[in-house]
């Protein structure tokens, strides 16, 4: 990498050491005073101290060490990072579901009980096959914590799991989708060989949906809003094709233990691709639910496209939507623009700017007078 020279920062993580010493009462009162003075002039440090002041220093040191360990391991941090854990978990679910239903197809209907025993057997073999039990534990841990933050991911997953059996004549969704995250990747090995065709299809859908969901969760959450990024749907829908190949990359590496470097770059690429291609699935349904009194003269789609193309980045890296309400004058120009759903000051201003410069609107034919109408503008950073 390019390394700028003589650019030495003496502070390193001295700051962290100081912070721990301060919290642990190891400082002389003069040092302590200097540190407090520094914090008074440094909101970051000041608020961090507020957060940490009641915390046991030993626990804090341990937490920090844990987190640093996660950050330092490229193979874990990238491949088993939050988003990927969900992808993996979901892929396994799908494999199980697909494998199970395909397997059941080949069996006579009377053997249902046998079937569930078989699944159990697969489960218990995990421990034995598992090449690195410790790593797996961590993955689960992450999966758990990820679950707490992005609750809706799991429901999404169920949704996918339930809809999947449509491809196979005998739907058997209910029973299996309970166990997904608990079984580690090795389980997949057993099922995967015979079923690769069916799975390939399944994975694609799933990865799209999940990636989308995660992006919604990270990229901020307040997305219950309906009028979401139609323009993204349009724009990114085109990019769907390259995905399947990319998506299988991390997958194979899981089975064949490809080198860490491959896995991480593969996973990163796959995520990127998936992000780009992902929008249509989950969001389009919600978009349809908004009722509008007015629409852009040029059409909603081209308005959305205009928004995407003309957007200026805001300074604080926020993405999400801004809700605006307004009325139209005789020329169809938006007036009385008010923010109904703020995101951040700069984001709101940008949204207003976009609406003001985004061309004329017209009321729907059945609308009389100049009532307040509304729209949402997607801010992407």
């Amino acid at each position: 990498m390019s390394k700028p020279k003589n650019d030495i920062d003496p502070s390193k993580s001295q700051e962290e050491k100081d912070l721990l010493r301060y919290l642990n009462e190891e400082m002389s009162s003069k040092e302590k005073y200097t540190f407090e003075r520094k914090a008074e002039n440094d909101p970051f440090l000041y608020e961090a101290m507020e957060g940490l002041q009641d915390m046991d220093v030993k626990l804090l040191a341990k937490d920090l060490a844990d987190m640093k360990k996660k950050l330092a391991r490229p193979e874990n941090t990238s491949f088993y990072s939050f988003s990927n854990v969900w992808k993996i978990a979901a892929v396994i679910t799908l494999m199980l579901v697909a494998g199970f239903s395909a397997w059941r197809l080949t069996m006579s209907p009377g053997l249902e009980e046998n079937a569930s025993t078989e699944t159990l057997a697969a489960d218990s073999s995990v421990a034995i096959n598992d090449p690195a039990p410790i790593e797996m534990d961590e993955t689960e841990e992450q999966a758990d914590s990820a679950k707490s933050t992005t609750d809706n991911t799991s429901s999404q997953q169920n949704l996918v799991a339930e809809s999947q059996p449509v491809e196979s004549p005998k739907p058997v969704a209910g029973e299996e989708n309970a166990s997904p995250q608990v079984t580690g990747p090795p389980v997949a090995v057993a099922d995967e060989a015979e079923l690769s065709d069916e799975i390939a299809v399944a994975e694609e859908t799933l990865d799209l949906t999940l990636a989308d969901d995660i992006e919604v969760a990270q990229g901020e959450e307040s997305n219950q809003g309906a009028g979401l990024a139609l323009q993204e749907t349009e724009r990114k829908g085109i990019a769907t094709e390259p995905v399947p190949q990319e998506v299988t990359a991390p997958q194979l590496s899981e089975l064949n233990a490809i080198t860490a470097a491959d896995a991480s770059s593969g996973a990163a690429k796959a995520k990127k691709e998936a992000d780009q291609a992902s929008q249509p699935v989950a969001r389009s349904a919600r978009i349809a639910t908004t009722t509008q009194l007015a629409s852009p003269v040029a059409g909603l789609e081209s308005f959305r496209k205009y928004v995407t193309d003309n957007q200026q980045k805001t300074a604080d890296m926020l993405s999400g939507e801004v809700g605006l309400s307004f009325t139209l004058n005789a020329q169809g120009t938006p007036q009385n623009i008010k923010v109904t759903k703020p995101l951040c000051q700069a984001c709101d201003q940008e949204a207003i700017r976009l609406l003001q410069n985004g061309g004329a609107w017209k009321y729907n034919d059945d609308v009389t007078g100049s009532p307040l109408t509304s729209t949402t503008i997607q801010i992407s950073n």
Partner: protein, 182 residues
């Protein structure tokens, strides 16, 4: 690894942006992990959630667009962290909670009291006199007698947290007072 430690935040960030190298970002993030975690803890109020948030902020940086202009990494990271936590809170509490104020990178204005040499201009002196007794007392002991929070707390037989809030409020009132005289 050790070599990387010698680079400034901004140099590392630039290196990360050019190379998209996770390790470089990790070295940079390590420096701030304690602070990020502290801030997350302050807002989330729960250790596990704070840990999640701190790791998510890392991912957010990793995914951030290369065109993102970062002039001062430290203050930018503070804003990103804080906003991430506030957005998490907002989504947790649901839509109705609109009063979560998001922050922008502030143009750093040093409080007159926090300047290298605190010189007591007549203006400052005048404003100081107008403060409430506890605020004035805490501010004076901290800035002029150079006492730590704890020492002030002991002397005044109040809580350290109260000392800190008196100082904060005192500083804010001072600033308002000085600005009104301009």
């Amino acid at each position: 690894m050790e070599l990387l430690d010698r680079f400034s935040d901004e140099a590392l960030w630039q290196g990360f942006v050019t190379e998209k190298d996770r390790q470089v970002l990790a070295v940079l993030y390590d420096r701030y992990l304690a602070l990020v975690y502290g801030v997350c803890l302050k807002y989330m109020g729960d250790k596990e959630e704070a840990k999640d948030a701190a790791m998510e902020v890392f991912e957010k940086l990793y995914e951030s667009s290369p065109s993102q202009k970062v002039e001062k990494f430290r203050s930018w990271l503070f804003v990103v962290t804080k906003n991430h936590c506030l957005m998490k809170l907002r989504s947790k509490k649901g839509v109705q909670e609109k009063n979560v104020q998001l922050f922008m990178e502030s143009t750093e204005v040093v409080h007159p009291l926090d300047e290298e040499e605190t010189d007591l201009t007549p203006q400052l002196q005048q404003c100081l006199e107008q403060l409430k007794t506890e605020q004035k007392g805490c501010v004076e002991m901290f800035y002029f007698n150079k006492k730590t929070y704890e020492e002030i707390a002991l002397k005044k037989s109040i809580d350290v947290k109260q000392v800190k809030s008196h100082i904060q409020n005192g500083k804010r009132n001072l600033k308002l007072c000085i600005e009104s005289k301009r």
